[in-house]
């Protein structure tokens, strides 16, 4: 691997180093300070594909979607100043959800640093709190080792975004290039913590003694590829599994021990089960406030075991009894042989009884009466795609309905912005995911609001010939905010009604196909047409305007204090009164 040294420019070394890290596609946008790198890129076009985005935020989300769908490290590139600052939302999104991405930005020449030169921004300063680590490279000799470190940091331990800001003169200068080998020297970096055996034994005993245990499966299960290990564990110990939003798919939704999603819009019985449990086994999750509700009354009867790779997450929000700071896959593989088989029949029966009238209240069981409900659209999409689509959601009501009604049985088939809740994420992330999984049936589910934030990337899809299917859940409102206004702000709809362009014509203006659906009976045809049509297709689903996501735990309320969908025969669609 350690080939002979060649004399190359910094820009050429950048591409050599990216290729050495296995990068096959980069998402980016050129500009002054990154032009040497773009010029050199032409020499590498047989080995690396560049996707020209319409806005750098799109590049960041595409790299994000690529990374989440593939489990590999994504890569995005932009110029200095505005190019780099446009990435920031995407970097923060990746940081919150621990997504491995290396961002390359051009910087003004090192001689101009600090002079407020044209398009100069202190990008390492700006991105410091939203990256796992970042670098400013002023010297051509630092490019290769820095890229090596950046990928190592992004991928290892708790993954995350790393930014490398490279001065223009460093890109232009020349030096010897030699493919780097071995692990980079990072004396302060400890990516692989190891939980002591005594604590593992203690955890196993707590699990054996628990009458009402519950697994809380988070994103860590997906990231560690620990789905099968989790299945083996819960099938032996017979522990039901609740998932966080980002944990969905990590454990099969249709598995008999899967309870579904927890938290603010989690299933009612899941939240009740958490409050009644005597042991929570938290696996690769971080007790986000959207998951716990009011901390003071969270899971009051439960002891807690926390398996987490990032020690700074332990005892941050919820105090735990045993913390296993380690890779969740390793912990599950050594924990399963230590736990006893217990039937826990009464606990499963109790959870069944907690379901109570949920099925009756569920909109799934209710007739549409000629109306088009978002939940029905998503349920139908699940059915028509046989649950096998790679679904990328935006942020808002549709995201929660997707989480509730699209049953994911496989990891990495739901891509969504959980921690940051970034509107505009879905379309670009889906384009990136499609590069990672070219054989998948990729569906964007977005609201009319979020879709318009990055709708310009339709043009990227058209130019690059990338096929995704876009389902716009169009209710004419910023629906989740409208719902909060309805519940908590006296029904005063401040700045939430939204008029959108004709999405069918918008698609057509890009040379893409557009469809419109206004009745449930039209859903199947539209889905089939979209699947059959080459190129990206946009479907405008004109759904019920003022439906709300149920159940809902109001922000800061006890997890069991849920606003429930009014039971029939009350009207499905409520008026704008406070509940």
């Amino acid at each position: 691997m350690n080939g002979p040294a060649r004399r190359l420019t910094g820009a050429e070394i950048l591409w050599e180093a990216l290729i050495a890290e296995g990068v096959d596609v980069v998402f980016g946008y050129p500009g002054g300070a990154i032009m040497p790198a773009y010029d050199a890129m032409l020499k590498y076009s047989d080995r690396i594909r560049h996707v020209l985005v319409r806005h750098e935020q799109g590049a960041a989300h595409m790299a994000d979607g690529y990374a989440r769908a593939s489990g590999r490290c994504g890569c995005a590139i932009a110029t200095s100043g505005p190019g780099a600052t446009n990435l920031v939302t995407g970097i923060a999104t990746a940081m919150m959800d621990s997504v491995p991405i290396v961002f390359i930005t051009g910087q003004v020449s090192s001689t101009l640093l600090g002079t407020d030169a044209f398009q100069e921004t202190d990008v390492t300063g700006v991105t410091l709190p939203v990256t796992k680590h970042n670098y400013l490279v002023t010297d051509v000799d630092e490019i290769a080792p820095t890229i090596r470190e950046a990928f190592f940091l992004a991928r290892s331990g708790r993954p995350g975004p790393v930014l490398v800001d490279i001065c223009k003169d460093a890109q232009q200068a020349s030096t010897e290039w030699r493919a780097p080998t071995g692990e980079p020297r990072l004396p302060g970096y400890r990516p692989s913590p190891h939980a002591p055996d005594e604590l593992l034994e203690r955890a196993a005993q707590m699990i054996d003694h628990a009458e009402r245990p519950l697994v809380l499966a988070g994103h860590g299960i997906v990231k560690a590829g620990a789905g099968e290990l989790l299945k083996a564990f819960v099938e032996k110990a017979r522990v039901p599994v609740a998932s966080t939003l980002l944990g969905l798919g990590g454990f099969p939704a249709t598995h008999p021990m899967s309870l579904g999603m927890m938290g603010m819009h989690g299933e009612a019985w899941v939240n009740h089960a958490i409050q009644e449990a005597d042991l929570l086994i938290a696996l690769g999750m971080r007790f986000d406030d959207r998951v716990t509700g009011r901390l003071a009354t969270y899971a009051p009867r439960a002891r807690k075991i926390h398996v987490e790779i990032d020690r700074s997450e332990v005892n941050k929000n919820v105090k735990v009894d045993v913390a296993l700071i380690d890779d969740v896959a390793r912990i599950l593989s050594v924990l399963t042989p230590r736990v006893s088989e217990r039937p826990r029949t009464s606990w499963f029966a109790r959870i069944d009884s907690l379901k109570g009238d949920s099925a009756v209240r569920d909109i799934q069981g209710l007739p549409d009466e000629g109306r088009l409900y978002a939940a029905h659209v998503i349920h139908d999409l699940w059915r028509l795609t046989e649950g096998k689509a790679l679904v990328v959601t935006d942020v808002g009501q549709h995201q929660m309905w997707e989480a509730q009604y699209y049953k994911h049985d496989h990891a990495r088939k739901l891509v969504t912005s959980g921690g940051l809740g970034t509107m505009g994420f879905a379309l670009p992330a889906a384009l990136g995911a499609r590069f990672a999984c070219p054989d998948d049936d990729v569906w964007v589910i977005a609201g009319d609001g979020g879709f318009q934030m990055t709708a310009c990337e339709l043009s990227t899809a058209a130019q690059e010939g990338v096929k995704v299917n876009v389902a716009i859940i169009n209710n004419g409102y910023l629906g989740m905010v409208r719902q909060w206004q309805q519940f908590f702000y006296g029904g005063r709809y401040a700045a939430t009604p939204m008029r959108s362009p004709d999405f069918v014509k918008l698609a057509e203006a890009h040379g893409l196909a557009g469809l419109r659906v206004t009745k449930r009976s039209e859903v199947e045809d539209a889905v089939r047409t979209a699947q059959k049509t080459p190129g990206t297709v946009v479907i405008d689903f004109r759904v019920e305007q003022e439906d709300s996501v149920y159940p809902m735990v109001p922000s800061g309320a006890d997890l069991a204090e849920m606003i429930r969908r009014p039971a029939p025969p009350s009207p499905l669609v409520e008026t704008a009164e406070d509940p």
Partner: protein, 188 residues
């Protein structure tokens, strides 16, 4: 001691001497809302390694989170909580006090009692140098305030454990105990 009691804690961080490290640490404390009482930074005996002494007001759990978050910074090599272990901590103060021919003997007497050194004197002013613990400096300052402190500067605390120093090793700290029920402080 109850883990939730907020006390003054002294944390030492050994860091790689690279551009922006201080910024990363300051940014971490600001962003997480950890309250810095004092922060000093300087070189060590080892080339390429700097050392920060950070005094914070925090309870046990917050102190652990501070340590864990410091360790997440790639350039941080070793973190030691020396709050309650055997450690030496010192701070230096320069204090300028009003003192004329009449009051000077009183000031010099105070100076003598505390073991401070006179480093400058004018007909109306005496400037003292005092190296001690922060508490002792507070005491001296409160006595001198009666005479009239004109100017004062304090360096912030520097600290060091007693006995053999910890050796910085790449894989150290993996067994950092976590939970409030199972944890023992790493300085123990």
């Amino acid at each position: 001691m109850s883990p939730s009691i907020v006390k003054s804690r002294t944390i030492i961080a050994h860091v790689e001497d690279k551009p922006g490290v201080l910024n990363r640490i300051a940014s971490l404390f600001r962003r997480r809302g950890f309250n810095i009482a004092s922060l000093t930074v300087g070189r060590t005996a080892e080339p390429g390694v700097s050392r920060l002494t950070i005094v914070v007001d925090a309870d046990d759990d917050t102190t652990r989170r501070i340590e864990a978050n410091l360790y997440k910074l790639v350039n941080v090599l070793l973190v030691e909580d020396v709050s309650f272990g055997p450690a030496i901590s010192r701070e230096l103060a320069l204090i300028k006090v009003r003192a004329n021919a009449e009051t000077r003997p009183r000031v010099l007497q105070v100076c003598d009692v505390f073991g401070a050194r006179v480093v400058d004197m004018t007909p109306d002013l005496v400037t003292l140098e005092f190296t001690s613990t922060s508490d002792k400096i507070d005491d001296l300052a409160s006595v001198l305030r009666v005479e009239g402190i004109v100017d004062m500067v304090r360096t912030g605390v520097v600290a060091m454990t007693r006995g053999e120093p910890r050796v910085i090793q790449a894989q150290e700290q993996e067994q950092w105990p976590e939970s409030s029920t199972t944890a023992t402080p790493i300085s123990a």
